[in-house]
């Protein structure tokens, strides 16, 4: 397998478009740049930002999606984070939550740790992995028209689970750091959902 050149999407613009006009969407972010990208698009009580627990973002989305089947849930994570939890795609496939979307921002690199090439960058196609696991709807997006289509899809609850790969440029972005207080973030989302804080 040879190196895969990234798509032309810029991550901040793509994530901002993806979440534009969000209504009742709940968002879980994978550690690293996806956490910063989602925060930069606009903080929201329906966001839970992971700063650790690598490999766990999609599974956290699964637990949340099963708990709130009436709400669309999207996990925004990176190729490196998803690679640590590939087995979780098989778990999601069997549960088949219709309201869950996994969006992978794929720049083919481990951006937080020195920019080493990831398996995705070296040719492992995460979309094909998701298809092989039996995820209902799998798409690879390379332009802003595709992002617009994904924006519409993730806001609905009927046709999931979805797995969407956004091919993004491997680039540095400005810092945009949300709260690292997990207890507070938890209480904020639960309050947003009409639950007791803890």
């Amino acid at each position: 397998m040879g190196e895969v050149t990234g798509g032309g999407l810029h991550r901040r613009a793509a994530v901002a478009r993806l979440l534009e006009g969000r209504d009742d969407l709940l968002v879980v972010t994978g550690l690293g740049s996806p956490t910063y990208d989602v925060f930069a698009a606009g903080d929201h009580p329906g966001n839970f930002y992971l700063w650790g627990a690598m490999g766990g973002a999609a599974m956290m989305g699964l637990g949340l999606a099963k708990a709130r089947p009436e709400r669309p849930v999207v996990v925004v994570t990176g190729d490196g984070e998803q690679l640590m939890g590939l087995g979780g795609l098989a778990t999601i496939s069997l549960q088949a939550p219709a309201n869950l979307s996994i969006v992978v921002l794929d720049n083919g690199h481990f951006g937080e740790t020195g920019g080493q090439m990831s398996h995705a960058g070296a040719g492992v196609d995460l979309a094909q992995v998701a298809r092989a696991c039996g995820i209902a709807e799998v798409t690879t997006v390379t332009d802003m028209d595709g992002v617009e289509g994904a924006r519409g899809a993730i806001g609905t609850v009927g046709a999931g689970p979805r797995f969407i790969v956004l091919r993004i440029v491997n680039e540095e972005t400005s810092r945009a750091l949300p709260s690292r207080d997990g207890v507070w973030l938890k209480a904020r989302m639960r309050t947003h959902l009409g639950l007791s804080p803890n």
Binding site: M59, A67, G88, T91
Partner: protein, 183 residues
């Protein structure tokens, strides 16, 4: 070849701990039960699959169940994880999610590597299991006798879901009976 052996556990026919644990989970309103299979959990897993209002979620690796439990709690649902002691080792870093978010957590762990263990490969992780849980901030409740189980399960669900604690209930190998291989 594995197919030449029938894996059995002499207590499997009864597994009297299974309905006690199931009742405690149901009474606590646990809606999502994730698991990596173990012979000692097989009857409980069947009960969870068959239960109304309870989803049984088969995992590829145990740490998935920790993130599922945290996500479930975010959305207002209660979740528990069933695993074998070997799986505790797979969970170590993911336990940090529970501490960082002070998420409730309940796992029921069937022990290997202790009483009457015949497989040396089970011993290192089995021996390390209580300490591995403890150093990551999980409270360990150990069950040696069947007559103690209901009270310990009741305590575990209360401490997890009312006091926001991470709780592991260890079912000792002396309770479960040693694993037996039948040719």
């Amino acid at each position: 070849m594995a197919s030449a052996h029938k894996i059995d556990r002499e207590e499997d026919a009864g597994s009297p701990w299974a309905p006690i644990i199931f009742d405690a989970l149901a009474d606590a309103g646990v809606a999502q039960v994730s698991y990596v299979p173990d012979a000692g959990h097989s009857r409980l897993i069947r009960l969870c699959h068959d239960a109304q209002g309870m989803d049984a979620i088969v995992l590829t690796t145990e740490e998935e169940g920790i993130a599922i439990a945290a996500g479930a709690w975010l959305g207002g649902a209660r979740s528990a994880l069933l695993m074998q002691s070997s799986g505790v080792g797979n969970c170590i870093n993911m336990f940090s999610l529970l501490a960082s978010g002070r998420f409730p957590f309940l796992t029921i762990v069937t022990m290997r590597g202790e009483f009457h263990e015949f497989n040396p490969w089970q011993v290192p992780m089995g021996r390390a299991t209580p300490q591995a849980l403890a150093i990551m901030g999980v409270i360990v409740l150990r069950v040696e006798r069947l007559e103690d189980l209901a009270a310990i399960m009741s305590s575990a669900t209360t401490m997890a879901f009312e006091s926001d604690q991470a709780i592991a209930v260890l079912l000792s190998q002396s309770l479960l009976g040693a694993k037996k291989w039948v040719k």
